[in-house]
Symmetry: C2
Amino acid sequence: MSIIDFLLGRPIASYEERAEQIGIAAGVPIFGMDALSSVAYGPEAALTLLIPLGLAGVRYIVPLSLSVITLLVIVFFSYRQTIAAYPGGGGSYTVAHRNLGTLPGLLAAAALMIDYVLTAAVGISAGIGALISAVPALHAETLTLCLVALALITLANLRGVREAGGIFMLPTYLFLLCMFAAIAIGVVKTLLSGGHPVAIVPPPAPPAAVEAVTLWLLLKAFASGCSAMTGIEAVSNGSKAFRKPTVPLAQRTLAVVIVSLVVMLAGMAFLSRAYHIAAIDPNSAAYQSVLSMIFAAVAGRGWFYYLSIGCVLLVLIFSANTAFTDFPRVCRAIAEDRFLPVSFANRGRRLVYSEGILVLAVLTAVLLVVFGGVTDRLIPLYAVGAFLAFTLSQAGMVAHWRKQKNPSFRNISINALGALATGATVMVVIVAKFTEGAWITVVIIPALLALMYSVRRHYDKVGRAIASPTPVDLSKLTAPLVVVPMPYWSKIAKQALRAALEISHDVKALYVIEENKHEDDFCREWETYVVKPARQAKVPAPELVQLKTPYRFVISPIVDYVIELSQANPDRRIIAIVPELVEKELFGYFLHTQRATLLKAMLLIKGNDRISVLNIPWYLK
Amino acid sequence: MSIIDFLLGRPIASYEERAEQIGIAAGVPIFGMDALSSVAYGPEAALTLLIPLGLAGVRYIVPLSLSVITLLVIVFFSYRQTIAAYPGGGGSYTVAHRNLGTLPGLLAAAALMIDYVLTAAVGISAGIGALISAVPALHAETLTLCLVALALITLANLRGVREAGGIFMLPTYLFLLCMFAAIAIGVVKTLLSGGHPVAIVPPPAPPAAVEAVTLWLLLKAFASGCSAMTGIEAVSNGSKAFRKPTVPLAQRTLAVVIVSLVVMLAGMAFLSRAYHIAAIDPNSAAYQSVLSMIFAAVAGRGWFYYLSIGCVLLVLIFSANTAFTDFPRVCRAIAEDRFLPVSFANRGRRLVYSEGILVLAVLTAVLLVVFGGVTDRLIPLYAVGAFLAFTLSQAGMVAHWRKQKNPSFRNISINALGALATGATVMVVIVAKFTEGAWITVVIIPALLALMYSVRRHYDKVGRAIASPTPVDLSKLTAPLVVVPMPYWSKIAKQALRAALEISHDVKALYVIEENKHEDDFCREWETYVVKPARQAKVPAPELVQLKTPYRFVISPIVDYVIELSQANPDRRIIAIVPELVEKELFGYFLHTQRATLLKAMLLIKGNDRISVLNIPWYLK
């Protein structure tokens, strides 16, 4: 078994993929993972911005969470309709492209691509952040741990992770169970204590207030908190995976996801406030995530704490996996429309879009390294892409309904409300987060669009250049002129000569000889080794052409001769035979001068349409 | 001008290299640089080991230096004879290989290769060490500075540094002048002050003694001090560069080098002792080189100090350059005997052995990084290789004389003494430095030998496999079977079909079609586009073969078909035409699936001797 086989698994034979047949129970983990896991960083991102307000800041988490929840409900109704309209899968690119046109489609695509890169990066770094909260000794290794997790996910995806499968179900439901349990315990304790519960492990006291509250600060905190909503488009993207009746099943799955998310967001806001849990600066060595503090305050640092944090870690890392399944698919959809290199649409040996996976892995690694593996710094970049894709998708739905024969006012207005709400959020996020990184998204999206258009232009240019709907011209076919370089007499040379004479009677053997020499053994042996056998076999003997050269180069005289020959014979094809010793061992490969490869490359670079290379392998047994 | 041209210079046309014609004045810098510069680290290495003895340690530098000087004189007479015997150049590999046989030759070669890598690393790190002594603020950047210097030297050598040239002369003679002046001033001051000179800038007081002197410690110090002798074989290596009368000129050059070296070693020992200059731990932030302390003590930190340190820096870095001219030559000599990949014997675009230069640069960089750019840690590894090469070379000379008709007892005994003295030193160095790194050399040399033998074995195996001193068999030549993959109808497809019919009338066009489809436009158009024109041109129409495939793969059905065809026609050659769109722009290159490349690679991997690939380029205008 080769190393590649060991790492990536044996190649999978090509067959029609079995249509997935899933229900709500499997749908929630598969498509909800990304959205549900957002609770691990959304509220925290908002609270982090409230740190300068000290203890007072904690109070604002409740109204902020309520705003996010409102937005969530609007978006829920909006996506319910997308599911109904596109039961075959309504990703933002598809919906915007079909209903609004190419530019909005590509805009959504670019936003989505950025979004997925950030999902991967945020998922991994938040997951590792949760791990570090539990084991603070690992703090110095944050970035290394992130990159190791990324490598494992990449490898798993190159092997081809089947989306379904119990692997996702257990941690997701365990995560929900832990969250709901912690919230329930905390709420009960708070109510029993008359609103002043005693934390089992008290969170660190919030620092003293150094700023007064401003609308601007709250706006920024809201913009950060919106990252809790990322990922909720996944159900409508993948709705075709549901078994029949597809639409209601997918809609109900979406409902479960949204309701769970609402409960968790509301619960976390309530507990943060009740237990006075403020965020901790993620750069501080005493960093702990808000979730970790909530679990510790409500239930102490016992088995339940570690179980919960373990689930958070798994769910976050698996949410990064969502990006690894979706990013390559978006790339493929765009590549199929030839706005990205067509190789993004090639499936690799394990039936996955390997190129998209690798590109995502590289981009994610760059992000993690640049931001030092700390989630919080990535959040400003995050929400723009996600909400831009939401907006375009909802706007596309509005256009979709308006094209119907009897446009339903209710349908239109639900999606229009969704588009307006998410569009307004995009604006808020761009403005509030501009200097903190949102400008990067704003710069990258047009750059991506420009790239995509130039890719398409190039394909169109090539397509026009090679198009030719007329019959082939087969008049005046002439046998080609064949040249065979002869470094020395060997089995390889013999094989090449035979092959040359099989395709043409016009063969020239090229022998490169030092400038100051006149003739050598080879030229004398030519008579015996080639001319005589040719006479016996009654074929025209190949001509031995001696190419003089200063001692150093062998390749250029051959290339020059071939080019001159093609100029002297403008109506004939020149075939340069390149015999090649093939070694299966890597050790042997490095020992041979790569002259054959170099000769082929030089002929390709300097050559023209009439110069072809015939590669004759000789296998070393 | 391309970036490559800018960095490496335009390619140099191939011509016979002008024989160098140098005398003593140029010979000393060119061949003496490496040896002379050793004074910058040899005595320092010995003194560093004496640090634990405190002030008392400084006294031992005098007898240690005298031992090294004795060894030096013995080796001088020994190499004088090598020059006389091999005026055409007597490198250790040559002398040992010719007189003692293959294994001793390769042993010397391996020792030399290691020695050169260490020369490069020690030269650079010692040069940077001198710079840091003058500008202590740069201490934290030691490794970076070393790597930058390495990159510059590598680049300069890839461009092809002409060995001759005033660039080496000025700093070498200035360096000698500064050294002699400092020694003279110091000696005079010492004598005038009755043996107790007052330092202008007093060296830091040696730390208190923490150990008593032992023979073992002195042995280790001697082994370290021997690194002052590295490089003295260079004159005999390069003697053919001298003008006539070659032998006396080369011998006198060697004498100048050795005498200068002796004066400097003796002077430094004297001054270290008189001024109580002990070495400073190179890991300490207060590190200064011994030479820097001597210059500062004798003449203060004025212009003379900075001039001297500047010369030391240049000479050391240029001494690394010696490795860059010699390492690739040793590799070439070994490669020409096919104990290393033959590509080491290829000259690059600037008439230099680029591959050797690159390999040396990589190995040096690895050493610098592993040892953190600090000279002292490299010294233990250094002397083993150099002295092993000395020993084998001298032993080779003994054998050389014994082969003469009238062996001269004097000649034999001089070289025998040299071989014994250097051989004994190898033993001392190995034992004294074993745990500090000499074991690495002891492990690497056999590994290198094993590698070289296996390279040679492989070449011999291939040579035997392809040798064939009999005429070519040209009976029963049959036109090949030609297959042409047709992805869709285009100018590229037309060109390929025409080329196919020019070389054979037995052409099969391969059209890959999805498994569940039956026929499509292409199959219908075939009649119009190909069959009819063929009938008109009176050539047999190519057969359209439809290959059914599950949708994913295009390459494998073609490869499988070609393999099957070759099995079904065991007496015929199969030519697979691979049309290829050639784009000169890099941007375009990435946009096209590398299917042509993949198809060629798959056919090469899965194919046999009778399957050839004809590559037909189509140039995008």
